[in-house]
């Protein structure tokens, strides 16, 4: 219901397989004409449906950038202030009870050798994303720059992606329309699932994600993983980093520089 006008956008995202495919989707007329009553009605229905729901949401149809985006998080720098979580909520209008980015806290070890550890979390923008595989409508898609985004105009809210995501990076907008002043946030579209998109609108404009920009300890570093001179690539090249739950084969784009060189925590 929100963003009704937003649904009529371009017919796909240029540069993604989905976008290219939807341009070719107008079906040719079948050769046999005698039986076409049923098939014709189906096609007519399909064409009507295409006009109605063919578009993509505005936030998703941004121009793709080359180079896979990645984030490095230095666990030795994080102090658990949750400024990233607050900045993210403010940036995207994330609803109460939902988080695109946050810091997990946990106590490790046994008395007296106990530590309180912080683990900044967000969507891992997996190269082999489990959420993308199970999404029935293509609402979850990967852009050419590796950012996994949710098209809130296409999501049906089945929540299979939430069940599939090992990082609990997704939340569900169960509340109805939050009101006109919040409606500009696609992250609030009711009945749909939402998650971190590496602040695609900011980063497409050459800025840093809100969580990176706000982090007082500079624990988060965002950049182009394909550019060997970018800060994020240089951190990766140190060999100190690893992703969370990499054993699941998800190929996360977020990697953690371990505590005191010990590698990322295994929770």
């Amino acid at each position: 219901m929100t963003g009704g006008g937003r649904e009529e956008g371009s017919a796909g995202i240029p540069g993604t397989p989905q976008g290219a495919a939807s341009r070719n989707a107008v079906p040719p007329r079948p050769a046999r004409r005698h039986f076409t009553l049923a098939a014709g009605a189906t096609l007519a229905l399909a064409l009507v449906a295409r006009r109605r729901v063919g578009g993509r949401a505005e936030g998703v149809s941004l121009p793709p950038r080359r180079g896979r985006k990645a984030m490095a998080i230095d666990l030795d720098r994080c102090m658990g202030c949750q400024a990233c979580a607050v900045a993210c909520k403010a940036e995207h209008g994330v609803r109460l009870g939902g988080f695109r980015s946050w810091v997990s806290e946990e106590e490790n070890g046994r008395f007296p050798a106990v530590t309180r550890d912080f683990l900044p979390r967000l969507c891992n923008h997996c190269g082999n994303a489990p959420c993308l595989k199970v999404c029935p409508t293509g609402a979850t898609l990967r852009r050419a720059d590796g950012i996994v985004v949710v098209d809130s105009a296409r999501c049906i809210g089945c929540r299979h992606c939430m069940a599939a995501c090992p990082y609990n990076a997704r939340y569900f907008n169960s509340q109805l329309d939050p009101g006109p002043e919040q409606a500009r946030f696609t992250a609030r579209t009711h009945g749909t699932v939402d998650k971190c998109d590496f602040c695609a609108r900011r980063t497409d404009a050459g800025r840093q994600p809100a969580c990176v920009e706000t982090c007082p300890a500079a624990a988060r570093v965002f950049g182009d993983a394909d550019d060997p001179d970018s800060p994020v690539s240089r951190l990766r090249a140190t060999g100190r980093g690893a992703g969370l739950l990499e054993e699941l084969g998800t190929q996360p784009s977020v990697f953690y520089l371990g505590r005191r060189g010990a590698g990322p925590p295994r929770t």
Partner: protein, 513 residues
């Protein structure tokens, strides 16, 4: 001959009792069910209009709750129609014939209610069907499920209709209030030998073709969970056959309860014989045993050699916070198994009521097992969540929407029973001896091959262009066209105009005697 005919007439009048005496002996039952259905519809309407905030589910912890468990349960029950029909048609076990139509009606009602439950569960019911059909991605289990459920729904409907077409024709010649409607619904049926053979043949092939469809429906629901590597407790290659087996258990137990209720309500003691229940009891005990075996195998593997997360989750189910529910369910299943075997082996008259009670116990235990499958993996994710998962407590609206489904189903069933014969009417001699020798009308002869061609073209078109938009719509409509082939084949053959000079393609034979 005469005595046979009079027996047939007695059977026929017994079958038609629910149609002749609308209201029955206890009209208050219908009213209670109507009230329950109204509450169900009201709670569904509230969820649809006020959003999923009304439910006890959330973003962290349980996001698939009771409505999903209910969907799985109803889909499971829906397997039974084609299972019984296949036994009758493919294996030729005629003694189950009288249970077949009741099973098929149960299939249709539960399948429709399952679809209602899925629709209720998704966050955007307004986009659900269109987006799945238009933008559906071939690699998503949800799209597989849309494909096989549409196919199953339509072909089960075709099966039910074809097996009932003659009965509709018989009803159109009675004094029943809706006889004009029955005549219209029978779509020009002519009761000739050839027509009966044609329907029998079509039904046998359809039953055979429907078995893999039925298996795939339940497998896909298993794959919804089995394919998620992120969730210990779900990620399991056993999941698809596990779900098929669970469907057999819940479907047959629901059917036994329903048969026992109908037998009592309409005094169908001769039509639904005692030995039928004896066989069902043994079969149900056998599949319960298989299900317990699967469960044991699952937990043995997890405990003995499972990955740490898998073992921890299995430990929670076996001896942690879910232990009481798990062991309660297992005990109920085991007790029902022993009880059913004792009832089946007991000499003397079969205690139908007790068998139905045991079956009801099994059905309830299966529902609990579905909930037990859903909750633990969601409440114990691999990594910490921003907010603690918390306890899942279904709200009153959620409970009404879940369990009200069964009241609505019962009401729908009562309504169907008032209108359609639940048991096949006995076959009299075909009185109309029109022999059909095939139509010469090229257009009519071409309909079936053209439908097959169109169906195949659509399926191939959709599958080849599976990355494109509209691909699921193409292959699903292709499959549905193929599902309509038996219907066309029966409708186009064996028609004629009574009393009129037959078309050149019909040759009137002299009726014997």
């Amino acid at each position: 001959m005469e005595s046979e005919a009079s027996v047939d007439r007695t059977i026929e009048s017994s079958i038609l009792r629910p149609l002749r005496e609308p209201g029955g002996t206890r009209p208050w039952r219908g009213r209670i069910l109507a009230l329950g259905t109204a509450i169900w519809m009201w709670s569904c309407a509230r969820i649809l209009s006020e959003g999923h905030g009304l439910l006890g589910t959330g973003s962290y912890g349980v996001s698939w709750g009771l409505t999903v468990a209910n969907t799985i349960h109803l889909i499971g029950i829906s397997h039974v129609g084609i299972a019984v029909s296949a036994v009758v048609r493919v294996l030729g076990l005629e003694r189950f014939r009288n249970a077949a139509r009741i099973a098929e009606l149960l299939t249709l009602v539960s399948l429709l209610l399952a679809v209602a439950n899925i629709t209720l569960d998704v966050g955007r019911p307004d986009r659900f069907l269109v987006n799945t059909l238009v933008h559906g991605r071939w690699h998503a289990p949800m799209v597989w499920s849309a494909t096989v459920i549409s196919l199953y729904l339509v072909s089960s409907g075709v099966y039910l209709y074809l097996s009932m077409r003659r009965d509709l024709w018989v009803l159109s010649r009675t004094e029943l209030p809706f006889r004009a409607l029955y005549a219209a619904l029978s779509l020009g049926y002519r009761d000739t030998e050839e027509s009966r053979n044609r329907h029998d043949q079509a039904l046998s092939w359809l039953a055979l073709a429907l078995i893999p469809v039925m298996v795939s429906v339940h497998s896909v629901y298993g794959l919804f969970f089995g394919l998620l590597s992120a969730r210990p407790g779900w990620h399991n290659p056993l999941q698809a056959p596990y779900f098929v087996l669970g469907a057999v258990v819940s479907g047959f137990s629901a059917l036994v309860v329903l048969l026992a209720l109908l037998r009592r309500e309409f005094a169908w003691r001769e039509l639904l014989e005692e030995r039928l229940f004896r066989v069902f009891a043994v079969f149900l005990a056998f599949v319960i045993f298989l299900y317990l075996y699967f469960t044991g195998s699952e937990h043995l593997t997890a405990q003995y050699a499972g990955p740490p997360a898998e073992r921890a989750l299995s430990g929670l189910v076996l001896g942690g916070s879910y232990a009481w529910a798990f062991w309660g369910t297992m005990t109920a299943g085991l007790l029902a198994l022993i009880w059913l075997l004792r009832l089946a082996r007991r000499p003397g008259p079969v205690k139908v009521g007790a068998i139905a009670a045991a079956a009801a116990l099994v059905n309830g235990a299966m529902f609990a097992k579905r909930v037990l499958l859903l909750l633990p993996p969601q409440q114990h994710p691999a990594l910490p969540t921003p907010l603690p998962p918390g306890l899942y407590v279904p709200t009153a609206v959620e409970l009404a929407a879940t369990f009200g489904t069964y009241l609505a189903g019962a009401l729908a069933f009562l309504g169907i029973l008032r209108f359609l014969p639940a048991i096949e009417l006995p076959l009299a001699e075909p009185e109309d001896a029109l022999a059909w020798t095939g139509t010469r009308d090229p257009w009519r002869r071409a309909v079936v091959p053209l439908t097959i061609a169109a169906g195949l073209v659509l399926v191939v078109w959709g599958v080849r262009g599976r990355e494109a938009d509209f691909a699921p719509l193409k292959w699903i409509s292709g499959l549905l066209l193929l599902a309509l082939v038996p219907l066309e084949w029966c409708l186009l053959g064996g028609q004629g105009k009574p009393g009129a000079v037959p078309d050149s393609s019909f040759v009137r034979q002299e009726a014997e005697g």
